[in-house]
Amino acid sequence: MFEEPFRWLEAISTRHSYVQEKLRKGQPVIAVPYNEGTLMLGFSSQPGKIFELYDRIAMGGLGHPADVERLRMTLLDLAHLEGFNRSEKDVTLARLLQFGIAPALKQNFEEVVRAPYLIQLLLMEIDFDNKPTFFRVNYDGHWESFKNGAVIAGDSNLVDVVEKKIAAAGFATMPLDQALLEACRIWESAKQDIEDDDWEDPAPTLKDAFEKWTLEAAVLSTVSPRKAIYRKITDAELETLKSACLS
């Protein structure tokens, strides 16, 4: 069937539909700046939504956990080999994506005899001038960068709404606790702003989400004295956030 261009295009189109349908229920991961770094958060039914990749790089993912894990390990390998063979200052997300996983993901997606990756990735990085950048990677290898925050979600309408709310919120000057609270409120209000009659959201409110799932959050902190500036938000901080969200 692949000898005819039309059939190939049809196969690719079918693959897009298949992957998008599989990702549709993926819960959002949000990354935003705050006054001392960057913040990423998301709800998950099992631990493993947000990860440290390298000294100044963090990653969030949605999709099939096995695929997220394989890409996480690939990025970890690339980053650590680059940091060892050259320097930690040579490890940048733009290079890891442009010359690392993006070509491999695209090739994998377009080889229609191979199983596609069921993933979306959200990455954040703080460079050595303390400037944050956010990246979104699609299952077909397409990636984009953002300056003021970014989101991934299975529902593209939800992505559009969250992006607008992030742009309007002015996260860059907020302290961490306020940024956490605002990001959670955006997560909830964006869900309420979109309507989807075809699918019932298992957790349309923060109250539902806190009851059903685990909230994971982590920061890259520009005030950290350590070489590796990633820090998971502690259980105590999350409890305070939960109280603030539900009050």
Binding site: M73, L81, F84, F99
Partner: protein
């Protein structure tokens, strides 16, 4: 840089990843004959338990034979947030080991989503030393390190001394290595047993003062150990590991401590 998606289960072993990427230690049989007097080496580094954790310190001189090659060598190297390695011997090998270890620990922590155990960290350095055995026996790549860390599970700081072939020994009080170490090991023992207080009872300030005096003393008797040179702003490097992780004492604080440490009794 290009990705190939790994099919294997992640083991968290960075050395294995390096080997798969074509990296390996030099084969001693293929190392040409080297004039050992041209190899950069020489050192005094020390570590001891004090009240809040462990202190690790070292002089700054690197020598090749009788020649002083460098006076600002950092011989206490951070490995991860809770671990330091103090190096004596050939810096080329020692710095490489520190780089491998640092990436190894961080790679493990990030890939396995938990820190490597202190026992695992201690063994990792032992493995590197064992792999370096050929060069050490030839006398061209010998490294005699001290590894200090804070065991987060037990809440206790640890110091390990290694021989050239990788045997590890846990040190409960104090240790020193390098060409100047024989001069100060007896002093450390004397201070611990009959000094004003045992080493483990001293605060960071007193521990740092002692470290400075010991390194000055080692430099007095060992030409491969550099004394401080205030005119050139060269001071010993001193770091501490506590339950909050490691921290280096800043140069300006070491300078002030140095002035206090070397003042003589009238």
């Amino acid at each position: 840089m290009s990705a190939s998606f790994s099919e294997s289960i992640a083991q968290g072993d960075f050395i294995d990843l390096l080997n798969r990427s074509g990296y390996s230690w030099p084969n001693p049989a293929q190392v040409p004959t080297v004039d050992k007097t041209q190899l950069t080496q020489g050192t005094t580094v020390l570590a001891f338990h004090y009240k809040d954790g462990v202190l690790v310190a070292g002089d700054r001189r690197a020598t090749a034979g009788n020649a002083i090659m460098y006076e600002r060598c950092d011989k206490v190297i951070p490995i991860d947030d809770y671990s330091l390695m103090a190096i004596a011997g050939v810096p080329a090998t020692a710095f490489e080991m520190a780089r491998v270890l640092s990436h190894n620990f961080e790679y493990y922590r990030r890939s396995q989503l938990q820190p490597l155990s202190t026992e695992g960290k201690v063994r990792a350095l032992s493995r590197l030393l064992k792999d370096n055995m050929g060069l050490a026996i030839q006398g061209v790549g010998a490294v005699s390190p001290i590894f200090a860390s804070f065991n987060q599970k037990t809440g206790a700081p640890v110091i390990y001394f290694y021989d050239l072939l990788g045997a590890q020994f846990e040190i409960r009080t104090h240790t020193a290595t390098g060409s100047g170490s024989p001069v100060i090991r007896g002093v450390l023992e004397h201070e611990d047993l009959w000094g004003e207080s045992p080493l483990a009872g001293r605060d960071e300030n007193d521990a740092a003062l002692l470290a400075i005096r010991l390194l000055q003393t080692a430099g007095r008797f060992d030409s491969a150990t550099g004394q401080a040179s205030p005119d050139d702003l060269i001071y010993p490097i001193i770091a501490c590991i506590t339950q909050e992780g490691y921290h280096f004492i800043p140069d300006e604080e070491v300078a002030a401590l140095f002035r206090q440490a070397v003042r003589r009794n009238s």
